[in-house]
């Protein structure tokens, strides 16, 4: 998927002006955010589970090379095949080649954010394979020709009316809008037909277990189960960070993932597969393929300041908690991963220079850190990326600040470093701004400060500082 991160401001403004989408975004708060809080509250050992989850991920990422080897060995031992893809192009091409070689006609896709990195469904359709998204939200998005709006609720921005127009072949404008149940049943009927004829499936991976070569899939709808049951070829795609070492780790990871994602204690279905079907089974795929993709994740891994972001288990809790995401919506972020965690991984995976607005789109309130099931310190990393866009790190090409801006901040820093300079600066700013102010507030200013004053008033310095007032008082009291 081509990044559109440069459009952040425009897209955010557009979304904030769209009443219908703003209303739809309320579900993110009333449904998911509150659900997570309740689920965590009902779980006495919640903090312990988060610490355990963090420890498991920290350990795995610190030994990712070792566990990748172990996972690949065990998948192969189970009779599956493993393909290591350096980037999205390689991964996509491998899957296309597989489908051609197996003479595939119909492909069912289960939800997978990694496949969005490859724009996989679109590419497979272009290659002539009937490729259908089977998660209801993804299906709606596919019919609309859009990209997912949220990690776990891809169509959260769509109204019932829009869904009716996409799903119901007989719907004419002005008709009664079918309710959610009727629409869901329409989708059930349509997708049942697709399941019956599918000969290949592509699924994501919630967790890959290194020691046994198993993958775990979490769904409420049952499309994950259909995908591991009906077609003769199953291809699972994963980002290289999605590993846990041991089968036992699943009990911790499933508990924190599901509670954080939807507020459920468990999702309707958790499916664990260790390769293709057993020799005594009539159902299940004949072939199992695992595609493990890097696609720029090594830049996060090699960066001690940002490595922690690879602990992410893609639950979406930070999106639901974020006051900015809940207003600007998922499409503003311009690439596969929206919200607070997206504001870290997107700039690194697609280039910070074009995505510099993403880490800036945060009030640093810390709600994402509070919500994160593996305690990823998102605000710290947002600040780090802001620092890089302002100052440039090892790579000054990432720097987006202007010479003038940097000059102003240098001056500011110099002014803040000494008592006398600070007092002089404060006095000067008062003298300069006083003529433009009304009762101590600036209401209108010339550019570039006008960007501030167009939405809020700006307070000018007081005529004398608290410090000088205090010292005058003390002198008076003494005399």
């Amino acid at each position: 998927m081509k990044p559109l991160t440069l459009n952040f401001r425009n897209k955010a403004a557009e979304t904030m002006g769209d009443k219908q989408v703003q209303q739809s975004l309320e579900h993110v708060y009333t449904g998911f955010f509150k659900g997570r809080l309740e689920a965590a509250g009902d779980t006495p050992e919640w903090e312990e589970l988060r610490d355990k989850g963090k420890a498991i991920k920290d350990h795995t990422i610190a030994h990712l090379d070792y566990y990748l080897g172990m996972l690949a060995d065990n998948v192969e031992k189970n009779g599956g095949s493993v393909y290591f893809a350096e980037n999205a192009d390689e991964a996509r091409q491998h899957i296309i080649d597989l489908a051609h070689a197996r003479n595939i006609k119909t492909i069912i896709k289960s939800k997978s954010m990694v496949s969005e990195e490859m724009a996989l469904a679109e590419s497979l359709n272009d290659e002539g394979f009937e490729t259908v998204e089977t998660d209801l939200g993804e299906y709606i998005i596919q019919l609309a020709g859009e990209t997912p709006y949220h990690l776990i609720a891809p169509a959260v921005h769509k109204s019932r009316l829009e869904v009716a127009e996409l799903l119901d072949d007989n719907y004419k404008s002005g008709d009664r809008v079918p309710d959610a149940t009727e629409l869901t049943m329409m989708a059930r009927e349509k997708l049942r037909g697709v399941f019956a004829r599918a000969d290949m499936s592509v699924t994501g991976v919630n967790f890959a277990v290194a020691e046994s070569g198993s993958i775990a899939l979490v769904t409420n709808e049952g499309n994950g189960r259909m995908s591991t049951t009906v077609p003769r070829v199953h291809v699972a795609v994963m980002g290289m960070e999605k590993i846990v070492p041991s089968i036992q780790d699943l009990s911790t990871m499933l508990r924190i993932l599901i509670r954080s994602a939807t507020g459920q204690r468990i999702s309707t279905y958790v499916t664990m597969v260790n390769g293709a079907r057993a020799s005594d089974e009539e159902e299940g795929p004949e072939e199992f393929h695992l595609v493990i993709m890097n696609n720029g994740r090594q830049n996060l891994l090699a960066d001690p300041q940002l490595r922690e972001s690879l602990n992410c288990i893609r639950c979406g809790a930070c999106l639901n908690a974020c006051p900015v995401y809940r207003k600007v919506g998922g499409h503003a972020y311009g690439w596969v991963y929206p919200g607070p965690i997206g504001s870290i991984v997107t700039p690194v995976m697609t280039g910070l220079k074009d995505a510099h607005n993403l880490p800036a789109a945060s009030s640093l309130c810390g709600a994402c850190l509070d919500a994160c099931p593996v305690k990823i310190n998102i605000p710290r990393m947002l600040l780090e990326l802001r620092h890089r866009t302002a100052e440039g790190s090892a790579d000054t090409a990432e720097r987006t600040s202007s010479k003038a801006e940097r000059g102003i901040w240098k001056l500011w820093r110099a002014g803040m470093m000494g008592r006398k300079r600070f007092d002089l600066g404060a006095r000067l700013s008062w003298l300069l701004l006083r003529p433009m102010a009304k009762n101590g507030w600036l209401k209108k200013t010339p550019p570039p400060i006008s960007r501030w004053t167009s939405t809020r008033d700006f307070p000018i310095m007081a005529s004398s500082s608290l410090r000088s007032k205090l010292s005058k008082r003390t002198k008076k009291a003494k005399s």
Partner: protein
């Protein structure tokens, strides 16, 4: 260098190392607890099973409560005859014409077959003999997609989450609990585990002793979605209705 070697050496370099570091070679605190040895795994699995039979009554009550929360329609049957009657009732209520069942022992114990056929429905068993060919596969698929009810036993249940665990195998197809619009699961008393911890402890022990099943499904209620305006709707790709029959005595 193969793709795999290139990929992994890239990761090693990103970690700031030149060779793969085996976690147990470290002196750090996080290194040893990751993989418990086989003896510990076995003792965990044994404890999980003995707990399941010692605390059976309590675990069944918790299972019944949590299952109801997840949307299972929970029935308690005092004896096998009651369980058979319950199944016949559901079958009649649904106007079922074709019913599919697994080969779980408990189903023959309660006499499911006659209970179902007495209602006039046909009964199929997800069992096959001899070699598996393409025709058999297509037939099994179409049987499952046209069945009105699927009936299974339970391999394990999990009290913490109200979950039924099934390990697909010969005699227990993957689709019998998924494709028909109604699924009925029959649970026996000492099959209920305390929590996910116990389930995965047992899975891990199975793995270490070479007995890990090819796949596993955790089922916690009817298929559902909230993808349209956040409204929860029951029944999207899997069953619209799921019944849990708890057989109290055997």
């Amino acid at each position: 260098m193969t793709d795999r070697e290139k990929f992994i050496s890239n990761v090693t370099a990103s970690l700031g190392r030149s060779t793969v570091l085996v976690p147990s070679d470290e002196s750090g605190t996080d290194s040893t607890a990751i993989f418990e040895d086989a003896a510990t795994a076995k003792s965990h699995a044994d404890r999980a099973m003995s707990y399941a039979s010692e605390r059976s009554t309590e675990l069944i009550d918790r299972m019944a409560n949590m299952a109801a929360v997840n949307g299972w329609k929970v029935h308690r049957a005092g004896n096998p005859e009651d369980a058979a009657d319950l199944i016949a009732d559901i079958s009649e209520q649904k106007g079922a014409k074709s019913v599919l069942r697994s080969t779980h022992e408990v189903l023959t114990e309660i006499g499911v077959d006659s209970a179902v056929t007495n209602t006039g429905a046909t009964l199929g068993v997800t069992e096959h003999s001899g070699s598996i060919d393409a025709n058999k596969i297509e037939q099994a698929k179409s049987d499952a997609f046209t069945a009105d009810i699927g009936i299974t036993g339970v391999d394990y249940a999990i009290a913490e989450t109200g979950t039924v665990v099934l390990h697909p195998r010969s005699g227990l197809s993957r689709l019998v609990s998924l494709a028909p619009p109604t699924h009925i699961a029959v649970l026996r008393p000492n099959e209920v585990l305390d929590s996910l911890t116990e389930l995965f402890a047992m899975e891990r022990n199975d793995y270490l002793s070479g007995d890990l099943a090819g796949s596993m499904n955790l089922i916690s209620g009817p298929s559902k979605t909230a993808d349209i305006e956040g409204t929860t709707v029951t029944g999207i790709h899997g069953p619209l209705e799921v019944h849990l029959i708890i057989l109290e005595n055997r």
